[in-house]
Structures are given as C-alpha cells and as structure tokens.
C-alpha cells in the first residue's frame, strides 16, 4: 500500500510538472554580451542562455489561464494589481468580445497579471536586457541594429495603427526563431521599472537620464536606434497596474546549465 501511495505521489508530481512547466513553443537563446541602449552605466551587459516563447501570449491562452486562476478574471482582479482597463476587450470573465480574435496577442493586461501567468507555467517575464537582446536580431543577423532597414521597418510599425488586432506569427521570424517581437504589440518586461526615464525624472530620480531632453540622448549608446529609444521611453512611463491596448507579453525560462 505504501509503495502504491508513493507511486501515486510521484505520478502526480510528474504530471504536474508536465502541466505547468512545459517548454513547448520556446526556442533556445544563446546568451552573450552586448551593448544595450541603457545599460548599467552604458556598458556591456551579459545575458545568460535562456529559452523564450516563440510567440506572444494569445487571447486564447490567457483565457485558459483565467479559467484556471479566477483571481485574474476581469471582474475578480483586485485594483492593486490591475487598473480599470484590464481585459477591457473581453465581454465578461471568460469570453472575448466578438470583434476580438482568439489568436491575437492578449493585451490590456497588467504587469502583475503577466508575471503571474508566466510563473504559473514555471516561467518568468524576460528582463529588459534579455528582451532587447533577442529583439535586436533580424531574419539573418543576431545584431541588426546597424542596418538601416532594421530600424526603418520597426519605425514603420510604430506608425501603423491597430496592429494589436493582427494574429500572431505573421511577422518574419528572426534568426533565433522568435516571431512578433516587432510589428505586433509592445511587451511587458520583468524589470520595466528599472528604466529611470519618466516625465518626472528631474524631480523624483536621483540619477538623471532624462530621455526627453538633449543631454540624455547623448548618453544613449546608439543614436541610430531610435526605435529602441521609444521602447525605453514607453517602459519608463508605465506603471505595473496599467493595462493597455497595445501592450502584451511573452515568457522566458532560465536554462540551468551554464555554458
């Protein structure tokens, strides 16, 4: 009897691992050192190996999540963790509005909700450095930031309205095999609040890097990379409970063995 009980436990544990920690739909990202736009003192940062979701989280996937964890449903989420626009494109707790596509990226989610989603799957949100590292690749190169076409393409997306209503997987996949980092929605990052550029930064932050005036743009390591500039500006203006129309997320997972 004892052994049976134990095998049951083991079965349950294994089953649970499969349930919550599946790594399907992720690709391996080989870490490296690179120079981000706003690093630690504008120096090279190191990114360890990790796995990243190929696609942003979709409406359909988020629906499964709120079914399992009712505390993140539209009417149940507490105000500390999400503002009033949380899931405002949903009809009710479990249904999207008819105009929305289940395969579009989920948006109108707060940082807290995104974080909880990833954690329930044994994953986490990517850091700003990780996200930017993967996002600087294009279809053929790992660091495409010097290419004019790379920047032009991203900027033309920034000018395209309502791209959040598109489906996932329709932009070209980059060299890592990741889709939709550009061209679909903005994405939450784990430490978005480490970007110290806000409208208020002259007054509330001791170390100045004010994006909106000329002095700080000189500090940026790559004046060409205006698109990344805009991403950092957005991050700097976010609060964790904000839920916005064009802001979604994807998850990453640590890889244990160091290279």
């Amino acid at each position: 009897m004892k052994t049976k009980a134990f095998s049951l436990i083991i079965f349950c544990c294994v089953f649970q691992t499969f349930l919550f920690a599946q790594t399907e739909g992720m690709v391996y990202i080989e870490g490296s050192r690179y120079l981000p736009l706003y690093g630690r003192d504008s120096t090279v940062v190191e990114v360890n190996d990790f796995k990243m979701d190929v696609y942003p989280v979709t409406n359909k996937e988020f629906k499964q999540f709120v079914e399992k964890f009712p505390k993140w449903q539209k009417s149940k989420v507490i105000k500390l963790f999400a503002d009033d626009s949380y899931l405002s494109n949903w009809k009710n707790d479990l249904e999207l509005k008819d105009t929305e596509n289940p395969d579009s990226p989920v948006t109108y989610v707060s940082w807290f909700a995104a974080k909880a989603y990833c954690e329930c799957q044994g994953k986490r949100l990517p850091t700003v450095d990780e996200w930017e590292y993967v996002a600087m690749a294009d279809e053929t190169t790992k660091d495409a930031r010097v290419k004019l076409s790379y920047n032009a393409k991203i900027l033309s997306w920034y000018e395209t309205p309502r791209s959040n209503e598109n489906l996932i997987g329709q932009t070209p996949k980059n060299i890592w095999g990741v889709y939709d980092l550009h061209g679909l929605v903005w994405e939450w990052t784990l430490d978005f609040n480490s970007v110290l550029i806000t409208g208020e930064s002259r007054k509330d932050v001791d170390k100045d890097s004010n994006l909106f005036c000329g002095s700080a743009s000189v500090n940026a390591t790559d004046l060409m990379n205006y698109a990344a500039f805009m991403r950092y500006a957005i991050r700097g203006s976010l609060k964790a409970k904000y839920a916005m129309k064009n802001l979604g997320f994807r998850c990453v997972q640590d890889v244990n063995e160091k290279k």
Partner: protein
C-alpha cells in the same frame, strides 16, 4: 491504507499551495456597484445600475465605492498593499508579512544602506516628518524603510543602520525582502530603481503614506521638498484613530 489517508490531504495541500494562490480571490465579488454620472450633472446623486445620465446622456460610471472604510477589521480592500503576501525580515530578525503592520498608519520609503547620495537625504526627510508629528500620534504610526538591495541589507546591517541614524525606536521598521518581492513592492509604489554598479542603485525618491488598512493616501516625490502635505496627511490619519 493509513498512510494513504495522511498522504492525500498533504498532497492536496501542497497542490493548493503551489498553484499560485489561486483561491485568494473572492473579496472583489461582494461589492455592491454604484453608478454615477462622470460629469456629476446631478451632484453626488448615484444610481444602483448602469445606464445614462438623464441630464448629459453620458454613460454612468461605476463609482469607487467607499466601502473600504466600512470594512471590518478582518477585511482588506482591493487597493490595500496587504494583498501582497510576500515575507519580509525586519531589522530585529523577525519574519513578517506586510499585513502584520495593519492597524498603523504607514509611512514608507525605499532605500539601501550603502547609498551615499540620495538616501541620506531621503532618510533625513523621513526624520524631518517624524519630528513634526506630536508624540501622542506616534503610537499609531510606523515609519517603514524597505531596502532595495536585499542581498547586502541583511537584518543585522539594517539594525546597525537604524542605530547609526538614531532610528531605532519603536516607530521605525526596516524591511529586507527578496529580489522579486522588492520588485513587486516597488511596482505597487510606482518606485523605479536600477542597479547601476555592484553597490549602487539609482532610484526614485518617493515617500508614500498608507492608512491603517494599507491603502495609499499620499505620495511625496523628490528630495528635500516641502513635506507639509505629507505631514498633514499623516496627522489626519493618526488623529482619526485616537
């Protein structure tokens, strides 16, 4: 068989605990929604259900119900920081949750002890505020300094810092969390911070005042700014209690 009987509840318990605290949700549903015209055409008049304003025809908006004030001592409102369930270590080495601070007006700030630039001034601001509070109100008040550098700022180090800065009294509390609980807490306070070198952080200078139910009442931003409003907010909160 006996074993099975014990193992099953244990297993269940583990699964419940490990499933991201999913069952901590039900506070929200028992609110009774009240609607009001966003333009307040009819003053403070409210409606029990959604519809449009008879004067300006705008959609009625659900009101922020004030039932947080009517909540009994056991309940906390949706906006309360006591909804955060992370564990913290105090400078005395005790393990607490934020909810353990319930019942006191809280004045909170995020600092780190190896800080040379802004934190001493931020700490001075805190002491300045404290000095303006009559002693009778101090009983209902806690000044909480949360470290953004949980690796370096151990309880021992926080205790030493407290002594050094004459902040070792009952009314001062220092908290050490984990990297992720500090990040979450900072996000609740809308504090930004970034590690800029192994020992230095760059961070927002925000002093936040919470009422005894953990709801944010007032935030003061900046260094050495006029703290009159902050003090007033604290006085109001602490007088209401005594």
């Amino acid at each position: 068989m006996k074993h099975l009987k014990i193992i099953f509840p244990v297993l269940l318990l583990i699964m419940t605990l490990s499933s991201c605290n999913s069952n901590k949700s039900d506070q929200a549903s028992d609110d009774i929604a009240v609607y009001q015209c966003p333009m307040k055409c009819e003053g403070e008049k409210t409606y029990p259900e959604a519809g449009s304003c008879p004067v300006c025809k705008m959609d009625l908006q659900p009101m922020e119900t004030e039932n947080s004030k009517e909540l009994s001592d056991q309940d906390i409102s949706e906006e309360s920081i006591f909804n955060l369930t992370s564990k913290w270590h105090t400078e005395e080495g005790n393990e607490i949750q934020l909810e353990d601070l319930k019942g006191k007006t809280l004045v909170m700030v995020m600092i780190y002890t190896s800080c040379k630039a802004a934190c001493p001034r931020l700490v001075a601001d805190m002491r300045n505020i404290e000095a303006q509070i009559p002693e009778a109100n101090l009983d209902d008040l806690r000044f909480v300094l949360v470290s953004i550098d949980p690796k370096i700022d151990t309880p021992e180090r926080l205790k030493a810092f407290a002594k050094e800065n004459m902040m070792d009294g009952e009314q001062w509390t220092f908290l050490q969390g984990t990297e992720s609980s500090v990040q979450e807490f900072a996000n609740v306070l809308a504090v930004k911070y970034k590690k800029i070198s192994p020992i230095d952080f760059s961070h927002s200078n925000i002093i936040s005042v919470f009422n005894s139910q953990g709801e944010l009442i007032h935030q003061q931003e900046g260094l050495g700014v006029d703290n009159k409003e902050t003090v007033e907010a604290i006085l109001q909160l602490t007088q209401g209690q005594s």
